[in-house]
Amino acid sequence: MNRTLTLTTALCAALSVTAGATTYPLTLTDDLGRKVTLKAEPRRIVSMLPSTSETLCALGVCDRLVGVDDYSDYPAYVTTLPKMGGLYNPNVEAIVARKPDLVLVSKYGKLEGPLTQAGITVLAVNPETYDEVFSKTLILGKIVNREAQAKALVTSMKREIAKVEILTKTAVKKPTAYYEIDPTPYSIGPNSFMGTLLTKAGARNIIPASMGDFPKVDPEFIVKQNPQLILGVDAGTVAARPGWNTITALKTGKVMDIPQELNTLLGRPGPRLPQALRGLAKLIHPELFK
């Protein structure tokens, strides 16, 4: 599927060299609400978000990256790039030393201040909701003058997602599910980016939208809802919790920890979203993927 994706992207790129080129200077409002002007097409980019690194590479401008954050690890190429720290401990000096003409940051860090003072163009691009994954891909495409590729990428992502959705729609039973993202315990609301994926993967989230996007939940609420499926925690842990041994999911063996690799994918609102969805759907409905 990856190859198809790259091929499609490349094909579209070839077809649309002239169409929809970005004109610079380009002024846009970033996720911190600042108006930022790019004087020319950025050639030396530092990406401080794993999902941004992935998107840039999917748009075919991997070679413009001169540095990435510590957590960027896909595609393999970015692991060879200099590491610039994480969200809470970014290495400002290292970033400045790479002489980037654009640094793409998360809106939660504090990089914008010192880097702007150092005369470096900073943009916060932070996909959070399901829809933003696509809108931010298009924005990144505009920024690096790869608008056509971005449109093609979004189209192919949506097509891959539709393929999974068609499968899960045919599922005879959609289990009620509790998805735990943190053992304290925190879960995901249906409107969050991960909640959207859970629904598309063919499960019925037991968390109501009114509880918020990433709510801390009362354990007795889960017991009362009695989900048919528990994701994100292993059966042993669930069984040890007071009262949880009465939950249907445990009795029927439908408690599944998310494998590390899929978990990483699910936390990356980027071009591998369809893969994340497919992985999740496979976990929930193995019978559909035989």
Partner: protein
């Protein structure tokens, strides 16, 4: 601390009965209310079926296996912290002393943080917290020691510094394991979630031994309020008493910290309220602090479960802080 001015006082049995009733009300409310409301008759039915060893289903499970142990845990921890707070304030003759003073909380937090960030098995987290808490107290005692003496000022200073250093280490660890931050945060804000009967059984001996010992030391603590010299001349072994109180309070607090994390303000606030309402004698203060501490934590947890405040430690601090300030202003002459 100056001896409290004489004030009209109810007889002790009446006071105890009043606070016990309050605690009972808290327990009934805490067991009946939550994200699922269970009518009183059903609560009683669930209790009966649980005691009789019958099969539990639906709301019975919630009442008997989830809510009741959680309420009992809150009661235990609150009672423990209340007694420890009263004893600490007495032995240091410092109204700001609380059970976390000697680095107990920071040590527990460091142990738990190391375990959580290091990805250790969950059942070992309380053990790590307990170890951290007891190690922190030991270091504080060693640092504060002056020959065979344990001067209170040195103890408090050493405790504060040990606490700060350990907190810094916890923060450093936390920043290295960002993705576990929420779990560590939950611990440091105090959380009764997932307290089952097994956890209650694990905490019970610590609180029982620790708080029990403190109750036995109440008379000696009263004598200490007359001043160190007077106490000595009356035959109270002051240094040994100090060590005993610190040891007993640390055991009780460390046990609580290990399982439910750090629940702020209970140990500081509760003895003050009791002292203002019922007088300062430790033979009244300590048992009443246990009752009121238990009530406070059970009610705070009920609020935590049913509002977005979400964690008991947040509620106790949010309610306790302002109340304490109001009390301070009201009683200033």
């Amino acid at each position: 601390m100056a001896p409290a001015a004489p004030r009209p006082q109810l007889a002790l049995p009446l006071q105890v009965a009043g606070l016990a009733l309050l605690l009972l009300a808290a327990v009934v409310l805490g067991t009946g209310l939550g994200s699922v409301t269970v009518p009183p008759a059903e609560v009683l039915g669930a209790l009966w079926r649980g005691l009789a060893g019958q099969e539990l289903a639906g709301n019975d499970v919630i009442v008997w296996q989830i809510r009741l142990p959680r309420v009992v845990m809150g009661l235990l921890v609150g009672a423990g912290l209340g007694v420890c707070g009263g004893a600490f304030q007495g032995v240091f003759r410092n109204p700001l002393a609380d059970p976390y003073l000697l680095g107990v909380a920071s040590g527990g937090a460091l142990g738990a943080t190391a375990m959580i960030v290091g990805g250790g098995p969950r059942p070992l987290i309380p053990a790590a917290a307990l170890l951290g808490a007891l190690a922190a107290v030991s270091v504080t005692l060693l640092l504060a020691r002056e020959g065979r003496r344990l001067p209170p000022t040195r103890l408090v200073l050493a405790g504060v510094v040990v606490g700060s250093v350990l907190s810094a280490l916890s923060t450093a660890l936390l920043l290295r394991g960002e993705d576990r931050a929420r779990e560590v945060l939950a611990y440091t804000l105090g959380d009764l979630g997932f307290s089952g009967w097994r956890e209650v059984a694990a905490v019970l001996p610590y609180v029982f031994v620790g708080a029990g010992a403190l109750l036995l030391l109440a008379r000696a603590l009263d004598t200490l309020q007359l001043g160190e010299l007077t106490a000595r001349s009356l035959g109270v072994p002051v240094e040994r008493l100090r060590l005993l109180v610190i040891g007993a309070a640390s055991v009780a607090t460390a046990g609580a910290v290990a399982y439910v994390g750090i629940i702020g303000f209970v140990g500081l606030l509760v003895p003050h309220v009791v002292r203002l309402a019922f007088g300062a004698g430790h033979r009244t203060l300590l048992p009443l602090s246990a009752l009121l501490g238990g009530t406070l934590v059970v009610l705070a947890d009920l609020l935590a479960r049913t509002t977005p405040l979400s964690q008991v430690g947040i509620v106790t601090t949010l309610l306790g802080g302002p109340f304490f300030l109001w009390l301070l202003r009201r009683t200033r002459d």
